[in-house]
Symmetry: C2
Subunit: 404 residues, 2 copies
């Protein structure tokens, strides 16, 4: 008897038909003698619809209330999935954050899991029930509901797989696995049979929407092996796991794009120690994730710093910078631009081969795509470009690195 944790995304449970389909998949595994814990996202576009509704009432709602509102999506879908399983004459029970014992910090809308106390899950499993867990949510130390950020249900699944020492953690989605590039953009994109945590992490952070980056970090740290696959077919998907030598055969594993980027530039920041620290710790305190950072020093004794943030954080970032500027009595200027995008190539092979950057820049130059910012890590290179060039850039890079 294995303990299997499965996670189904919103598109897998978008309507009653699909919920029933997912239910019969789960019952299939249960009847093979497995214990099943299933994490489920909100139905289809429920979360976005709730956010829209909130904004009609208050353009800047408190994040605690936002969490109270949007966490209902997963509560609904978990109850409906439990009902669908019951209609197949199998015992099932849905559980929400406080029942599952998922404890988080107090950072609403982007909470991190602190610990899991799975007593209730274990009790229901030993009563022979299929346990359906509302994903994406936890309880803060204040006993309030907090959500884990976009794609947070992935993290719920990985954290539960670890806490329950599950034998398998399957992430079901509407694509068949992890591809060398978005198949909707690059027709010849290939499905990878396996990928390392580090590569997946870079791809996820860089805009491949198949897994939330935090869930991959979590999986890497605790060695939880993931199987990313489609809820609509029986095909094997992609295994996300620790790195193995043969992976290095590939120079670049995939191409990713993130079109949800905004660029901020601070002009004439005083060239004195600690200024950058003040800026970025101020942004961190507001829980704004800053991405690519580029600094250039000028001869006149001031610097320009550019960085990117998620488009949705731009307003908050500008407000925070204004506050810091006022406190520090600086005279810097701030410009912003929300028409940016980031394209990246990722691969553990980069560690051992040189020339990847040059190849990337050439491929973009050949298409007349201007590179506005560059950032690199050991296993990825990202370029910030104009958003309207994104698809062209992804196709060019996919071809240049022979991923077809």
């Amino acid at each position: 008897m294995s303990l299997i944790v499965q996670k189904y995304g919103g598109s897998s449970v978008a309507n009653p038909e699909r919920i029933k389909n997912v239910a019969s998949r789960i019952v299939g595994s249960y009847k093979e003698g497995n214990q099943m814990v299933v994490v489920v996202s909100a139905l289809g576009d429920t979360t976005d619809e709730l956010i829209d509704l909130a904004h009609k009432i208050n353009p800047h709602p408190e994040e605690r209330e936002m969490d109270m509102l949007i966490s209902t999506g997963e509560q609904m879908s978990s109850a409906l999935l439990a009902m669908a399983i019951q209609s197949l004459s199998c015992p099932a029970i849905s559980l929400i954050a406080q029942q599952v014992g998922i404890r988080t910090d107090n950072v609403h809308t982007k909470a991190k899991i602190v610990k899991i106390e799975p007593a209730r899950i274990l009790k229901e499993l030993s009563a022979g029930k299929i346990v359906i867990v509302a994903g994406f949510q936890g309880m803060t130390t204040e006993e309030d509901i907090a959500t884990l950020g976009r794609g947070g249900s992935d993290t719920t699944a990985v954290a539960l797989a670890y806490a329950l020492s599950a034998d398998l953690c399957e992430i079901y989605t509407d694509v068949e696995g992890v591809y060398t590039a978005d198949p909707r953009i690059v027709e010849k994109a290939r499905k990878l049979s396996e990928i390392s945590y580090d590569e997946m992490l870079e791809l996820a952070a860089l805009g491949a929407k198949v897994l939330q980056s935090r869930s991959v970090e979590f999986a890497k740290r605790y060695g939880v092996r993931l199987h990313v696959r489609s809820s609509l077919t029986k095909e094997e998907g992609t295994i996300v796991k620790e790195e193995v030598p043969k992976m290095e055969d590939l120079l670049v594993t995939g191409v990713a794009a993130d079109t949800d980027q905004a660029k901020v530039t601070i002009v004439d920041i005083p060239d004195q120690p600690g200024m950058a620290a003040k800026v970025f710790s101020g942004l961190a305190k507001e829980h704004i994730n800053v991405d690519t950072i580029v600094q250039s020093s000028s001869l006149k004794g001031t610097n320009d710093i550019s960085f990117t943030v998620a488009k949705s954080d731009l307003k908050k970032a500008l407000k925070t910078l204004k506050k810091i500027s006022d406190e520090q009595l600086t005279a810097w200027g701030v410009t912003s631009d929300d028409e940016a995008a980031k394209v990246s190539v990722v691969g553990v092979g980069m560690r051992s081969y040189s020339g990847v950057a040059a190849k990337m820049f050439n491929a973009l130059a050949d298409k007349n795509i201007n590179i506005e910012m560059i950032s690199t890590s050991e296993i990825k290179i990202s370029c910030v470009i104009r958003r309207e060039k994104t698809e062209e850039a992804v196709r060019a890079l996919h071809k240049a690195f022979e991923l077809e």
Copy 2:
């Protein structure tokens, strides 16, 4: 400074406009220096939509899962109302069942409140916040969510008013108060400025949808005075309170109708002690509320018992009777009919005047309306009739008792 508990029904918060309207009403009372605790129902038809969705997935969902599903409606509306208040620059916080400390028994979909531990509410009130409470729900001893039955938000409000020793309990709805009959049926129906708990209880139990009967029972037992009024006007509504002598001036206070009735008849039930008890305790065990009961004994040594139940409970009632019949090896027959309705006249004045029943039967007879069952209490008389005659009967009775 007064502590005010207000309750807003689903139609009062059916859309963003109305939510904002309710928010500004609440802020008005808050700015007059009052502490505010506001109970809110689900938006418009949310609960019915969720029930429909559930039935598409499973025609007979477990009631625990149904509660998990439909309680999301109130969680949503409470978060949205808190956001609307915050947008008016007032501090507000939404709380759900386990945070409010509403403890119930384990009867899902019809749970009763056992106790309230309002520590969190008191904490938020003393922090100066307007507290928005998700109505209709509580936590069972199993730490599961349970709902309080149709109109349960009224009971939440009354129970909180009692637990917090509130100075005022206002029930906001889409009508201006309690009327002598449904104004949509009887054009000349009058708004009552006050009504006794007992009369309100009978009216509520008899189909006047303005308040859930359980909330009135609760209010009566603990002496919570209610003000039923409209969320759309500033008009005074109806005060529901202990009986005072002058109320007896009116013979009949109101006419009510309940079209959600089904009639069940058990034919040839053995005429031996304990049979009726077995039937009705069996139904009670399944939490089926039985209404009017009529028994007639025949000469052949068996009885016929007829009773009415809510239409939605008919299927369950028939199944339960089948089970009892099998266990008792009886040979009774069961017939049912879901086209029944009940019309009633209510008034504490009946205690001191005679002839009310005769007047009622005459009024119905004048319209050629056949009376199928009769039941009476100290302050009401109900007749079961064909459903299609309901409106005609209500108008005839309203006129006969000079309520115009």
